[in-house]
Amino acid sequence: MSAEWTQSGAEILLRALKDQGVEVIFGYPGGAVLPIYDALFKQNAIRHVLVRQEGGAVHAAEGYARSTGKVGVVLVTSGPGATNAVTGLVDALMDSIPVVCLTGQVPTHLIGNDAFQEADTTGITRPATKHNYLVKRAEDLARVVHEAFYVARSGRPGPVVIDLPKDIVINPAPYAEPAVQHPSYRPRTEPDLGQIAKAVTLMKQAKRPMIYAGGGVINAGPAASEALTKLARITGFPITNTLMGLGCYPASDPQFLGMLGMHGTYEANLAMHGCDMLLAIGARFDDRVTGRLNAFSQHSQKIHIDIDGSSINKNVPVEVPIIADAGKALNALLAAWQASDEPTDKPALASWWRQIDEWRGKQSLKFTQDMQRGGIIKPQYAIQRLFEITRARGKEVFITTEVGQHQMWAAQHFHFEQPNHWMTSGGLGTMGYGLPAAMGVQIAHPDACVIDIAGEASILMNIQEMGTLAQYRLPVKVFILNNQYMGMVRQWQELLHGSRYSETYSAALPDFVKLADAFHATGMRAHSVDELDSVINAMLDCPTAVIADIAVDQAENCFPMIPSGAAHNEMLLGPEHEASGAGVTDAGMALV
């Protein structure tokens, strides 16, 4: 503990960041943070990446965080800098991504005065963050920074804002080491062994078991994914992942039923519907997953492992709640399963698998690609080829996405074997997430292949970040499935609003090849199926950033689909299948 006041607040801030292991900050300067930028200029330990809009900084920090397991760090100025960051903060909050966002603020004596570029940042970001701080005394500065990192990464991770008045960063401040223990925030991570025993009893007795694993397993670190894989193998249970959980279980494994939920596979959703024991791990029973709640997995006894007590019994009541870190709980389950001599019902499990394989036989993700010269590219096929070609090349691949149909097709047709390689905006569904997120991933993994699977509408939301790619020579590949529509919205209009395509045509699109050129990147285009592979290969061979504009079938819809307000067994299958499902009810029309 050094209590001398020999360094400025800005220097103390950077020292605390360094002690927290920060290597890179995504930011954008302005008046209120000038002293911090001055201190950054005078040091080399921490790298600063200049984005083109503050919203991009937060998504970049999210991509960095999700692909490394570290805390992402953002620095923005007061007022408009802070307000531009808000969407990214809410995105990180919804998807449990650890981010620390430093915001400039007017000097303490001007706070509340409608000063130039003043915004009530702590007020605005209170419901947008896991926690936020306004530093009003120099003595608090170092402690608050350490605390912010602890809060961002502990328990259920999330974004934390530190609002820094200009005088606080200019004036001298004392340093303080990270505290040993936080006074109030100490989330529970160890499972209750009595509950683990109860869980194992339910699992052993199950005739139709099902594992439903989500983003919390990824939050718990790669070891948790390994423990999950072991548990699934040792029990022989089928397993599904949420959109956020993809990669926490190897997609190539025969026990994997694919993603569940609104655009999940037939087998995953029917297995959820029909199971008699549901083991949920780090998944929050989101409405995209459950469909109509009163019809959701009605005949199962449920075990729910989550580090956040508020995720348990929120939407779906469960028999065995376990508040714990997913990794620790999975290890405890493994140990208890192995120690128990209770028998399992092997014949029942075998007949459950026969049923699942029958559902699988439906091939709910099936599509037909016209392979003739000039054939229109099916978006699913574009993703499938992207997956096959990148896998054949063997280089490590990270995928980010924007939001829409392309995101769902990516989730369905790109397959992940490891955690932390799939970055998507699930909870908030933020168009414009994918490009800056890819930027953050590429900063963290300079040698890897980072691809943003995009829609032509979403990509325009943060297209300015192409400038950042150029400045830092980040060879991110933007793979646009260009259907000339806000396809996901158009799909709902087709299915629910009599094909009245109100304002969903992507009119006056830029020429993406020229746009790439203008941003010092390489542009390429595939018009038809015969051009697809060569464009994908050229994109992957290209040493610079690329925008690949892939013209895809404008009319294609994303199936399977559980319409809002419907149950898992009422899912709509695509045109490849005979009519199915119950359609949308009036109550369902009101849902999003």
Partner: protein, 176 residues
């Protein structure tokens, strides 16, 4: 630590008195109130004040209502706020005492005034201010008692009411 949770889908509404021990810092009230408004929970009454010699901690007492699943959710949501040390549902955890204070202004003369005074006596309300045409009564008790008193004053010149919201503690040796 909010731990064992009931798993009922019972839709009957109940009232809950929730006490929360928090860091006494700027913004904590906004955090808790914002949580309630943002998630659509009810606040029937709310009190907050520092409760230790050093002024480091405040206690909030919140009266809310909902199904038992919602009330468990409210507790869990409060519990995960960073500056929150402890949360207890006094209604569920066993017997507790809850009291509030009300100041009640009654304006009137003659027989009305005499009757107001008589009723105040039976309720053990104190007169804390008086003029020839008015009284301010001070009354403490549980919410029902205060409601009853105010109801009776309605015909006797009730002019204004100011209530503190409830303060509550578990009975016996239990502490939050």
């Amino acid at each position: 630590m909010v731990d064992v949770m009931p798993t009922t889908t019972d839709t009957t509404q109940r009232s809950a008195t929730i006490s929360v021990l928090v860091d006494n810092e700027a913004g904590i009230l906004a955090r808790v109130v914002g949580l309630f408004s943002g998630r659509g929970y009810n606040i029937d009454s709310l009190t907050v004040a520092p409760v230790d010699a050093g002024g480091l901690y405040s206690r909030m007492n919140i009266v809310t209502s909902g199904t038992s699943m919602v009330i468990e959710q409210i507790k869990a949501q409060i519990d995960r706020l960073v500056p929150v040390h402890r949360v207890a549902d006094l209604t569920m955890d066993g017997p507790h005492v809850a009291r509030e204070l009300a100041l009640v202004k009654v304006i009137g003369t003659g027989e009305q005034r005499v009757e107001a005074m008589r009723i105040a006596d039976t309720f053990r309300a104190r007169v804390v201010d008086t003029t020839l045409g008015s009284f301010v009564f001070e009354l403490t008790g549980n919410t029902d008692k205060i409601d009853a008193f105010i109801e009776l004053m309605r015909d006797l010149g009730l002019a204004e009411v100011s209530r503190s919201g409830i303060a509550a503690l578990a009975r016996g040796t239990r502490v939050i």
